[in-house]
């Protein structure tokens, strides 16, 4: 099964894991990645991250990336990325992978994460105690209104 979506609510991790394990056959492990909002960045307290997507294209690109990454060794994959306003410690991205062997599951989970972070049009504004920052790519921070 393949399920990849952009969502605005928290995922019940136990429910997803139980369902994936129940549906599996000869496999014996599940790899999961969970990304969540940091509380501190560069010594400053973060109050929230505001995520926005470009729909319907963000969902289309997310699904295409998942299709391109998985192969016949992947028997079940679920990817969920949240948007909206999220507070520190709240989960953002969930990746669950069951494969025919665990090394493939780890490899594909990591590959999915890296490609999603860099290719799916999702943008975040970090609101913290010293101002608001747009995050560009892998961590470059541009102070809001510094370019206008």
């Amino acid at each position: 099964m393949v399920d990849a979506r952009i969502i605005d609510k928290e995922v019940d991790i136990n429910e997803v894991v139980k369902e994936m394990i129940k549906n599996s056959g000869s496999e014996g492990s599940l790899v999961m990645f969970l990304g969540y909002v940091k509380e501190f960045v560069d010594g400053h307290r973060v109050s929230k991250l505001i995520y926005e997507a470009y729909e319907p294209y963000s969902t289309q690109i997310l699904k295409r990336v998942v299709d391109e990454v998985i192969d016949d060794d992947i028997t079940d994959v679920r990817v969920y990325h949240r948007v909206g306003t999220l507070r520190p410690h709240e989960p953002v991205i969930y990746i669950f992978v069951i494969a025919k062997n665990r090394s493939k599951a780890f490899e594909k989970c990591r590959e999915l994460l890296e490609r999603i972070k860099h290719e799916v049009p999702i943008f975040k504004l970090e609101v913290r105690d010293d101002g608001e920052y747009w995050i560009v790519g892998d961590g470059l921070r541009v102070k809001r209104n510094s370019l206008t």
Partner: protein, 83 residues
């Protein structure tokens, strides 16, 4: 003809709007359209010299020689920051 332009993330701060509709006399190459936008928004041109910008036409990365057609949707963004 008319195309829709969507400004994503910090690009919307630079242009002062999230989207707009642009009327064109005829179909033009994307590069020509981009030059028009850079004249309208000099700060966008400045930004393009500092940061990598990504351009989509109807959700797909544009080609240099691609021509814009009536009803197309152009999106301008920085490198995504998901996760």
């Amino acid at each position: 003809m008319e195309v829709k332009v969507v400004y994503l993330g910090l690009i919307a701060d630079v242009t002062g709007r999230k989207e707009e509709r642009v009327k064109l006399d005829s179909e033009i190459e994307f590069s020509e359209f981009l030059s028009m936008l850079f004249i309208k928004y000099p700060k966008l041109k400045e930004l393009s010299e500092k940061l990598e910008l990504i351009f989509l036409v109807n959700g797909v990365k544009y080609r240099d020689d691609e021509r814009l057609h009536d009803g197309d949707e152009v999106a301008i963004m920085t490198v995504p920051s998901g996760g």
